[in-house]
Symmetry: C3
Subunit: 263 residues, 3 copies
């Protein structure tokens, strides 16, 4: 039971659902790989005109599946592979999808949830949704390319508030910060997102793909497909050297032992 990423179709609309029951859809390694597989397939499916990305059971995604972390996070090479292959593989597939992608965000949108939402074109949130990336409680920083997509969508100050102060921000605040484009009553979120997706699907599909390619090309710092990006490439080679550090172990251990960490 490591969770899964589901895809359903309704004519030109595709719905991708993060599903990890009992864990608020926390992303396991298996789910990151499924996310990549699904979005690569959507990108190559000429019949898809709009994708809605959502979570199951009243939450978008509560973050990563921390129960998996002790198996790989404390070893630098394994940690790098997790972030650069599994996580980034999933995020890049969403970014590289030329079909418009709408994030339908309710409940918790934390860590991996904010990262995934940051890769979508538009973000619609329920009024009671909550956003953050409180991984400083877990003793580790956000991976550079993951921070890049969050900063691009949420701005540097909001990313800093999430990462440096472990802030959890509500939907109206995230609207004001420009991360969310629309806040809706929780009960209206799914219907309103579907209405917008149907609107997108009536429009010229080739123009949509060309517009997405242009927006991606012009939206630094993340230009993942064909354009080289010096800012990303110059990320220090020691980005994952913290793997075996005391505070990294303390943060994750404390979480799993259900006690506050002491840094």
């Amino acid at each position: 039971m490591t969770g899964q990423v589901l895809c359903t179709r309704d004519g030109p609309l595709a719905r991708v659902t993060l599903s990890h029951p009992g864990k608020l859809n926390a992303m396991s390694r298996a789910m990151w790989r499924e996310l990549q597989t699904l979005f690569v397939a959507l990108q190559h499916d000429a019949t898809v005109r709009c994708v809605v990305l959502c979570g199951e059971g009243g939450h978008f995604c509560a973050g990563g599946d921390i129960s998996e972390y002790p198996a790989f996070r404390f070893h630098e090479a394994d940690l790098r592979e997790f972030h650069e292959r599994d996580v980034w593989g999933g995020l890049q597939a969403v970014l590289d999808c030329d079909v418009p992608v709408l994030a339908q965000i309710d409940g918790n949108c934390m860590g991996a949830g904010v990262e995934i939402a940051s890769c979508c074109d538009l973000r619609l949130a329920g009024a009671s949704a909550r956003f953050g990336a409180p991984i400083a409680r877990l003793g580790f920083p956000m991976a550079p390319r993951e921070a890049a997509v969050v900063m691009r969508a949420a701005g540097a100050a909001t990313a800093a508030e999430m990462l440096l102060a472990a802030a959890v921000l509500d939907a109206p605040t995230m609207l004001q910060r420009g991360f969310v484009q629309h806040v809706l009553p929780d009960a209206a979120l799914a219907e309103e997102t579907l209405r917008l997706a149907r609107q997108v699907a009536t429009l010229a599909p080739q123009a949509a793909r060309l517009n997405k390619q242009t927006i991606r090309a012009l939206n630094p710092p993340l230009v993942p497909v064909k354009w080289p990006l010096s800012a990303i490439e110059s990320i220090p080679s020691d980005a994952y050297r913290y793997a075996d550090s005391a505070e990294h172990r303390e943060g994750i251990t404390a979480f799993l032992e259900k006690r506050p960490p002491v840094f």
Copy 2:
């Protein structure tokens, strides 16, 4: 009767007015060229201290003059020349103007209107102004450099909402999105913009020109004068290959036939 761009002077103030009666000031090819000519002249006129850019008759600009489109849009080389010479020539002249430029926006501000407003330094809007770039209904994408100025001024998500969902957004929303700096009662817009222009005109004019040069140099992705911009230059050579596509023809034909397009 292809519309015109007018310029009047009042001491150190210049007023540039988009005028295409009966078409909500939609930009014809002739108007794009006039816009360029006027702003090149303003840039070289040392007596001008502030420019107000507005539209005639209660609207800023409803977009391009679609009645002209069948004559050139379906042929790739002609389409490229239209966007890269006529449209970009006009926009770049506004961007390159070292004199502060205020956009006074009422009524419809669509497509070309959003692009022109994006090249101004500050945007003031009447409360009932409406913004969008619903060209996906016409079956074509925004040209890369035009998308760049809109994304720079409105943000990637707002540009995506306009381009991918054909969204039309009101003035308070565009204030919240950071595109518009001030929303005023419709009846107060002209007077308040004039008041701000007079304020600008009292300040040190050489400092204003140096500040504009600095802001332009530091404001990626559009650095049109002397600095090369790799993001713009790497726009794929096939950016206009869609000219003869079925959906492009359908979009424009349907508009001219006053029927909904079928994509």
Copy 3:
């Protein structure tokens, strides 16, 4: 009596206070150098986990100390040294500090004050704080790298409004513009900033430093430490040629003579 920058410690928290009594903490050259010295020291002090940067006596900082300007501003080489060594030395030290820095902003936050606040990670403001950079009244533009930090934090349009129109904006407006993250009742500002600083100090300190390094690396156009930045480096060599111009002399002279400038 040229003012000073003070630093006090309370466990993992450091408080840096701009202090220039009777001048609303206007930055003298000596204060810029002290700001640099203090932040270089904080960066190398492994026991510091959060820095609060504030002003004394109900104001953050009213700008530069104009009484010093006639001694150096009208000579190009001296002017360049002031901006590139003294001012930028202070700002870069704040930017280069890997410890989270919170700006606690009350009263006047003008010119140098906006620049210093722009180099902090988060900005909290009292409800009656006022922001601007009305140096066009003094007849000179903002130095390129100083404009870069302000534009990065406040956006190009807000920087343009401050620089081209000498606009003074209130705290709610600066919240809406994304410069300030939180506006608080004046009486609650200090306590709420301290609460946030304590929250930051409980979190993993190595993760905070790594996050700050990542955010800085990915947050163009200012990447001051190790990454070259072409936009900054291509600032024209004549950026300070205005030193001896008539309008520069008129602006500063008029201010010191307490009369309106005539440009």
